[in-house]
Symmetry: C2
Subunit: 339 residues, 2 copies
Amino acid sequence: MAKRVGRYTMAYESLPSVVGTYSVAGSKEGQGPLGKKFDLIVEDSYYGEKTWEKAESKFQRTAVKKGLEKIGSDKSQYDLVFAGDLLNQCTGSCYGLLEHDIPYCGLFTACATVAQGLVLSGMAIDGGFVNRAITIASSHFCTAERQFRMPLEYGGQRAPTAQWTVTGSGAYFVSGQEKSTVRLAHGTFGKMVDYEVTDTTNMGAVMAPAFCDTLENYFHDTNTGVEDVDLIVSGDLGKCGYDLVCELCAGDGFDIRPKYQDCGLLVFDRERQDVHAGGSGCGCSGIVVASEIYPRIASGELKNVLFVGTGALFSPMSGMQGENIIGIAHLVHLQHVAN
Amino acid sequence: MAKRVGRYTMAYESLPSVVGTYSVAGSKEGQGPLGKKFDLIVEDSYYGEKTWEKAESKFQRTAVKKGLEKIGSDKSQYDLVFAGDLLNQCTGSCYGLLEHDIPYCGLFTACATVAQGLVLSGMAIDGGFVNRAITIASSHFCTAERQFRMPLEYGGQRAPTAQWTVTGSGAYFVSGQEKSTVRLAHGTFGKMVDYEVTDTTNMGAVMAPAFCDTLENYFHDTNTGVEDVDLIVSGDLGKCGYDLVCELCAGDGFDIRPKYQDCGLLVFDRERQDVHAGGSGCGCSGIVVASEIYPRIASGELKNVLFVGTGALFSPMSGMQGENIIGIAHLVHLQHVAN
């Protein structure tokens, strides 16, 4: 099998195993439809810390620590961690992971971080460069609101297109040594896409075109289509992004709807939880893929899943300086392989 | 040759070629000792744009565009770009590289970005996952000061340990298809190191221990030492960090001084240019390795060079919340191979 497939896609010949995942979720996420599936629910938004930022770091710290316990491994077995978050200078990750003492590769691709980390983990392991790697990302509603929009104390009105940043962290343990039934089969890095959206309360519109671009590149490279997979799951497009994706795909001549779900729609009950367009943030796909999608692949219920992490690249300053918000999406093909 | 060497180091069996580099430097950098070596010097700190942030993006855009012209290649030949900068949410990179339309892998490891990108490029190419990859990073004195310290208009007094953020961007073009005399031979990802430094005007003290940790891990893994290389070059430790490194290495039983230089000391003339402890920023190693170190390896004057990119992980908010500043360093072994 060639490692390079078409213009954009990489095939992982050895099919590295995702040997386990761990999800730490916040209180609101715990009350949502997936509440019973998370490994740990933290009721206190401060997680016993003095600030929300320190709490976010603790979400990552806990996800790695308890995840290693869950899979019966040890940090000394892991050669590398790919990590990122939404905070300025990715401080959620660095302070969160410091004590674990694992070589650290910092990422920033906004909410596409988990997918980007899994694509890189596949390369690192399939290439034989590391034995085992962790991918982790986090987000926190309270840190994201005050950094990107308004301090919560301001009590601003939310737009109907706005999404609710998920409080949580998901960790993924990938190994070239141990085998599991969940494998990394392909990875496709996305290009940045600019649809000239400037509304920071409509991330779905920013990211939907990037999602379609990457997905269609993958289909073209691998000569496959919607019919060849069991599920396509986007990171955090929410209701607006979901509808846009269905429209854009229809315009490109295929119907994605029968196979398509979005982590931002899975994580909350929009009727009951007042989250407007749905969930978002690095932690959204982080906890949803770890707790809801992964077990269904592990059991064989789903054989081929395309997880497309979606990100919106901007900062409050770039917005004030009149820049558009840029979309990006990275795809990882997760495959069930019977042991 | 095994791809995994010891606990921390990766060997690139195929020795991917760095087929070219391009450096775009600011005015002050142009007046420094390396002024004649930069590919392009931009006198206007705004680079014709409305804001310094847009200017920083233009530095990256130009480095990739003109770099591709310099090496006689084309963006369609490049499968991936690893990019990062110091701005919140890495907006220097995303707005800079958008128009190039190359799959984008965003990084954040502060000033260690170029080294991290080269280590990842080595993996991507040696693993056979991409044919060619670009690594790029940037920094800008004016964007960094207002983001991390004070707006320039405030006219704050600078501490003697403070460094001057380099305005510039360096691009590195790595290929598994074409051959050059400059090769990626090894990569070592660093661990985060906390020496409990909280002084945001003394980055040398934060990063020096991380530099030593990664360098010693590399020496241990490859069973080599100072005597086996021609040059060890750190990213931006400045005078304080340089002296600390010499002390720490002496304490660990070896004398690094005869082989050791620092990009932060090479880029400015400390006597003449009022930069206090020296240069810093992603762009510092970015332009110095591209314009000063790379040609000396290409010509064969230097056969084995260890480039150790150094980064300080923190944000203004993490500082205000009482966190220490975390150091990190990633190492790439650049080797001259006669064609």
